[in-house]
Amino acid sequence: MGIDWGIILQQFFSQSIGVNAMVFAMAAIGLNIHFGFTGLLNFGHVGFMAAGAYGVGVSVFWLDINFWVGILVGVGFCVFLALLLGIPTLRLRSDYLGITTIAASEALRIFVRWRGNRERTGASEGINDFADSFFRFNIFTRPGNESYDFLFFQYRANDLWVMLIGWSLVGFFLLLNWQLIRSPWGRALKSIREDEDAARALGKNAYAYKMQALALGGVIGGFAGMIQVISRQSVQPDTFNPVITFLIWTILIIGGVGKVWAPVAGSVIYWASISGLITFMRELIGTDLSDELERFFNLSILNVDQLRFVIFGAAMMLLMWLRPQGLFGNREEMALDDR
């Protein structure tokens, strides 16, 4: 048995701009506003994704209101979460925000999967099949699971529709970001990142700016959560675990902290390379080498997927140490100091 390079290339290219790459690019754009432009140490970004996702899910499932109104509810949840997190911690040093946000995102997950919330959030079962309104407008109409193929790219009809809307949103957020960062508001954010005391001395209300940045980045993260659960037609509490936050961090750092378009680059690079690599590993396990792999590296089809996390953990460490500005960032701009 040889290695099927076709499937590796197909995974590499399809995942490079697939639903995952889109969702994580969007989430990283939100985190970039927090950390890249304002210097907020948000270690609970997945909480915003969950807030957005459950905003839509709960609206349709429990409150029984229109799906599109549900999107607004999701946005509202994200703003509310930002206020909840920001009020106690934004006046404190940044590591306190880090600790609180990771704890809050975990607490949120515990809360939505609590069995007492079965009628509201579906508890551990989650909420399923709530986004028919979204797919009603699907312009890609091949029935069932029949896929669209183009060179090495291969997508199902529904995914293609999610990608079209999702990448358009990503484009919109990039434009918005680009304009905001050039505006006086964006310059104030950057000045707070560089030296909060100096910004305050100039009469800027640093607390208010930080709160606005937290809410805006949170809402963008919320949209990422929404589009993710829409693509799966399912909201599951355990998909919103802290590891997702750190994956977003890694993607942001790969691209370059503080660069407007870098989250997209980071996400595309991450998903293309990791999918290609893992598929390659799977293929390798399929060859005659499998016994040696199992004996020397304990690698088998059972644990090959965990390599993904091992690799991104190591990537996160090495990048932050040796190239904290990421592949495309600017070291002078991103001189991280301690606030």
């Binding site: 911690t89 880090g98 809360f111 079962e125 020397f296 304990n298 953990g313 460490m317």
Partner: protein, 447 residues
């Protein structure tokens, strides 16, 4: 380029430690004596029997077990007698519940040397029968029992937290990978307990006893604590000392610890597998009754050891030169350095002691069972403890941990146990709003 080598060194160390021994970890050792066992399954819509996977079964005063992929579970018990067996309903698969609501506990009579089957009937959808009442009963006995449970969790938590607080105090670094040191405690104790010290050398693991065979739990815990201290020393020496020398900012270091945490956790999963494991000895132990409370002897001993160790750490900090140096560095690093204290050495010592304490805490947490991510699950509680007590203060972590342990266990008097970890977060947020320096912290500007 030489600076990059330490990371590679750590990776190779971790990989080789697990890589060489991993074939051994795949083995399963059976136990003698008697056990309670059962199979949990339910009928799906087609009338097929589907095993219920991952359901936690508790044998009161003995321990717990989780159903495997066939729905089977077997929990060893120490001696003949009647054991209350209960099913943790929160762990039932999605959409599955007990056929008779509220019938979640059975008394099983076990005879000497014989395994005894228990049966919990499951059904898809809602069960029937008695009404669901989540209102917890309130009694003096229950308060006493929960207080002891709280103290137990608090003591283990204190050992897990104290290192985090000391490292923060001396270096200003919030170490997100600290929870992985706690996991290390459970896993390495399991390892030494099952495969012995020589088992580390991989190729010896396949040899007959005593080379490949495990040591008793007490020795295993000691070995684990030593290995934890060594791990702490290596982490500081190879990674964090290098970062300090190079002037890597604290925020960047914090992000690096997150990467380290993910790396270590998934290496555990990669080599150790996802299934929960139990130590070879003392897993099946019957609770003894002291007045209104019931507690297993192993927990009682572990609590005793925790108290001794924590008092020891307190004495170390107040009485010895090393301890005074630690506190001095914590208070004012520059002043300490200029008065002749070797700051790097103090930090290194703090890493060793902190990691060793976390390892011991982890080994105790894992007395019931150990899993690749159990440390990470306590990270929230560890953070809550150190924030509550005051980040950077050693005694603060202790007080905070005891309080968190008591509060979250006593909260189950009024609230669903599923929510108890949320209470810890709530406590933390309240403290941050009204006393951000923590209970024992000095009021200083931290914003």
């Amino acid at each position: 380029m030489w600076q990059r080598k330490p990371v590679v060194g750590v990776l190779i160390l971790l990989l080789s430690l697990f890589g060489l021994v991993s074939p051994a970890l795949a083995q399963d050792d059976g136990g003698g004596g008697q056990a309670v066992f059962g199979k949990l399954q339910y009928e799906d819509d087609n009338g097929d029997n589907i095993p219920a996977v991952g359901v936690v079964i508790n044998v009161e005063g003995v321990g717990s077990g989780t159903t495997d992929e066939n729905g089977d579970v077997s929990i060893p018990v120490p001696e003949a007698g009647t054991y209350p067996v209960s099913v943790d309903e929160t762990t039932l698969p999605e959409g599955v519940s007990l056929r008779t609501i509220g019938r979640n506990s059975l008394d099983i009579l076990v005879e000497d040397g014989q395994d005894k089957r228990f049966l919990f009937a499951l059904t898809l959808g809602e069960g029937i029968g008695a009404d669901v009442s989540t209102a917890a009963s309130f009694s003096g006995k229950r308060v006493a029992q929960l207080t002891v449970e709280g103290l137990k969790q608090g003591l283990y938590l204190a050992m897990a937290s104290i290192g985090l607080s000391l490292i923060y105090g001396t270096t200003g670094l919030v170490n997100f990978a600290h929870a992985e040191l706690v996991t290390w405690g459970g896993l390495s104790t399991f390892f030494f307990n099952s495969y012995g010290f020589a088992g580390v050398l991989g190729f010896l693991a396949a040899w007959p006893a005593p080379f490949g065979d495990g040591s008793t739990l007490v020795v295993a815990v000691v070995l684990a604590v030593i290995s934890g201290g060594v791990l702490g020393w290596i982490l500081d020496k190879t990674l964090f000392r290098t970062f300090r020398k190079q002037g890597v900012s604290l925020i960047a270091q914090m992000v690096i610890t997150i990467g380290l945490s993910i790396l270590m956790r998934y290496l555990y999963l990669y080599f150790f597998g996802g299934a929960p494991r139990t130590y070879r000895q003392f897993t099946a132990q019957r609770a003894i009754e002291i007045g209104p409370i019931a507690i297993t002897p192993k927990d009682l001993i572990a609590m005793g050891i925790s108290v001794v160790i924590l008092i020891g750490i307190g004495a170390l900090l107040t009485l010895t030169r090393t301890g005074k140096a630690m506190r001095a560095v914590s208070d004012n690093r520059d002043l300490a350095e200029s008065s002749g204290i070797d700051v790097q050495k103090v930090i290194s010592t703090v890493w060793v002691y902190g990691a060793a304490a976390a390892t011991l805490g982890g080994a105790f947490f894992a007395l019931d069972q150990t899993k690749w991510d159990f440390g990470f699950r306590t990270l929230l509680l560890i953070f809550a403890s150190v924030t509550l007590g005051g980040l950077g203060t050693a005694y603060g972590a202790l007080v905070g941990a005891l309080l968190i342990g008591l509060v979250i266990n006593l909260s189950t008097l009024f609230l669903d146990p599923e929510l108890k970890n949320m209470i810890a977060l709530l406590a933390m947020v309240l403290v941050l709003m009204f006393r951000p320096q923590g209970l024992l912290g000095k009021a200083e500007r931290i914003g």
